[in-house]
């Protein structure tokens, strides 16, 4: 029997502020007020969900008088509306055990915390460096058939790119040109997969279940990397005396196969999980063209290319609650979010420890640490605490501290030391 849908509207009001005290010129780097609305409803046979963000950034976008005369006040308080999810799910139609979702939906398949190399369907929202693992909804159809503790799930979706963070955080994804090159103009173009039935299509299948108390899943994914890579770089010398050049950069999204394996278990009272993702990229070659004779040795310019070699990213994680309620979560990671080729893979430990006080009203997280294995001086440390003075209200405070040396991406971000404050009310 199909019962009437019970509909709900929930959401959050959020204030989010960051101040970069380590930047060359100390400044506000994030100044946001956000209203997030979530609509949902369900019955025995159908449910729906939608999620919209209305965001106001408090840094005015004013270039002239007309910007402060606008009736929508858009120059004074730029507003952004972001649809994150909108989907409908059918249950047990036309037969029991079947679940079909259609629309824009976040699909998260990994077992690890935050870093999920086997979760490749929903694209990542890397905008906020403090919210690693955040995903955006993907347009598609998701079919799942459950039989007891086992299920098989297939997804057919259309390509969508990852959202990358604004500067200066984007430097974690993209190498910069050597300082010896003086770029007077940089023109970049991104080619997305050609529209059509085949071009932008992605698909994945997952077999999952529990065997002898161990949760297991096998995944196959065929689709695109969410981060674009240089396909063609034209370097045009502009002023030979000043060593100035113009660069025209064309980027594309490489396509690959991914074979994944996940597990989660609880040996010796420990939480223990793992994700293994073998990436097999399609052939992808970057053309580098110097349009005039090369007087500066530009051939030595190196960029991060997508090679054709297969590579393995994985995460192994453990968690445990010690006496007195001290929670510890440790993950060993091969391949951080920005490392997407055999040559770029590095190893890291991520340690998180937390303890609550005052009947759970205060959570202290002294050790939110990322350490690069072997290069122990490359560290990200985010000590923070959260305060819950009343139900539905969360206030978060903390600092982001980065140390990086050598050719590590962290070295490019070393000056991004920030303090942050976030306050959220859920309704």
């Amino acid at each position: 029997m199909i019962l009437l849908l019970v509909s709900d509207i929930n959401g959050d009001v959020l204030g989010y502020y960051r101040y970069c005290f380590g930047c060359d010129t100390a400044r506000w780097t994030w100044n946001e007020e956000r209203l997030e609305l979530r609509f949902s409803g369900s019955s025995d046979k159908v449910s729906y969900g939608a999620d919209f963000r209305f965001r106001v950034f408090g840094i005015p976008n004013i270039n002239g008088l007309s910007d402060i005369q606008r009736r929508d006040k858009g120059g004074i308080s730029p507003i952004y509306v972001q649809p994150r999810e909108a989907f409908i799910t059918l249950y047990d139609i036309p037969f029991g055990g079947l679940e079909v979702s259609v629309g824009k939906k976040v699909i998260s398949w990994g077992k690890a915390d935050g870093i999920n190399p086997t979760s490749q369907i929903s694209v990542y929202d890397y905008e906020d460096f403090f919210d690693i693992g955040a995903k955006l909804g993907t347009n598609g159809i998701n079919i799942r058939y459950s039989l007891g503790n086992f299920w098989v799930e297939g997804v057919f979706s259309t390509f969508s790119p990852d959202a990358i963070p604004p500067d200066p955080y984007s430097s974690v994804f993209f190498s910069s040109f050597p300082d010896t090159i003086n770029i007077v103009a940089l023109n970049d173009t991104i080619n997305i997969p050609k529209n059509g039935l085949r071009g932008p299509s992605e698909f994945a299948i997952r077999f999952a279940g529990t065997v002898k108390g161990i949760d297991l899943s096998l995944i196959y994914f065929r689709g695109y990397d969410g981060i674009p890579y240089p396909k063609r770089i034209d370097i045009t010398p502009y002023n030979l005396i000043e060593k100035q050049v113009k660069i025209n950069l064309i980027m594309e999204y490489p396509k690959y196969h991914m074979l994944g394996f996940n597990f989660a278990s609880t040996p010796f009272n420990l939480g223990f999980w793992g994700e293994f993702a073998l990436f097999i990229p399609d052939s992808f070659e970057t053309q580098k063209r110097l349009l005039l004779p090369d007087p500066f040795g530009f051939d030595s310019v190196t960029l991060t290319f997508q090679p054709n070699k297969p590579f393995l990213r994985f995460v192994l994680g453990w968690d445990y609650t010690f006496p007195k309620g001290i929670y510890a979560n440790l993950q060993y990671i091969r391949g951080f979010i920005n490392e997407r080729s055999a040559d770029s893979l590095r190893d890291y430990f991520i340690l998180r420890m937390e303890k609550t006080f005052f009947d759970g009203n205060l959570k202290v997280m002294p050790a939110n640490l990322l350490l690069e294995v072997g290069n122990w001086g490359n560290i990200v440390w985010i000590p923070a605490f959260e305060y819950y003075p009343v139900d539905n209200l969360t206030a978060s405070f903390g600092v982001l501290l980065i140390w990086g040396k050598g050719d590590s991406p962290l070295a490019r971000m070393e000056k991004i030391d920030e303090a942050f404050f976030r306050i959220k009310y859920s309704f």
């Binding site: 699909i107 009272n269 959220k424 859920s426």
Partner: protein, 241 residues
């Protein structure tokens, strides 16, 4: 009284030969778990030492002794968070914000659940006789008084429990929980019982953490029993709905 009928032969034997503490404890488990399944709206009121109250509501589904699903309705920041407990200490938590189901290990068994004075273990399964040996340490007109000590090899945070069992209904009226040092830690009281379909079922239970001066009152509303809950409800797939 359906739960009591099941243990009637044992009780009759007990009248002839004298009930042991373990017999009474088996009776308690039988009465507490008499319905095949139950579905209810659970209201949890958390009261701190200053008298401040916070309320959580959740849908609760239980089948047998060791299958339970709890889906939070309020507060808003926990809406949709679900907890699934299955046999052999298999537990999952679903976080709708991340659309992810997390397997949780038994190290959290004795952590407080969602700010209440109940642990994950308290919510996971009902059954004292599996983990405790009982001896009768007292008796009055209405109650047997039992001392429950953990069986060897069981992992419990308590050194012993002291339980007052109603002689007529075999429902525990009060259970005192003592920590490893022998100090009183928590007191659970059944504060209201309803008869639904012939079962005596507690509809109001309080748990007081004496050390923290914190109390949780659980009230079960709209309770339905023996409704034939499907095993499909107690799955990871159903948690996400």
């Amino acid at each position: 009284m359906k739960g009591l009928k099941a243990i009637l032969p044992m009780l009759l034997a007990g009248n002839l030969y004298g009930l042991s503490g373990n017999d009474i404890l088996i009776g308690v488990d039988s009465v507490m778990n008499a319905p095949k399944d139950r579905k209810t709206l659970m209201k949890m009121t958390l009261i701190d030492g200053k008298g401040n109250e916070r309320v959580r509501t959740a849908e609760s589904y239980q089948k047998g002794r060791d299958k339970r699903l709890i889906k939070f309705i309020t507060p808003a920041d926990q809406k949709g968070v679900s907890f699934l407990a299955l046999p052999n200490d298999v537990m999952y938590v679903y976080f709708p914000a991340f659309r992810s189901v997390r397997r949780v290990a038994s190290h959290i068994k004795y952590q407080e659940f969602a700010g209440t004075d109940l642990t994950y273990n308290d919510l996971g399964s009902f059954g004292y006789s599996k983990d405790y040996n009982a001896e009768i340490v007292g008796e009055d007109d209405v109650s047997y008084i039992l001392k429950l000590t953990p069986k060897p090899g069981t992992d419990k945070p308590y050194s012993y429990l002291k339980m007052w069992v109603d002689k007529k209904t075999f429902l525990p009226q009060k259970v005192e929980h003592y920590d490893k040092s022998g100090s009183l830690w928590k007191v659970m009281r059944i504060e209201g019982v309803k008869n639904i379909k012939g079962y005596n079922i507690p509809y109001k239970i309080s748990v007081e953490n004496v050390k923290k001066k914190h109390k949780t009152i659980m009230e079960f509303e709209n309770m339905e029993v023996d409704v034939g809950l499907s095993d499909d409800i107690f799955t990871v797939s159903y948690m996400r709905r």
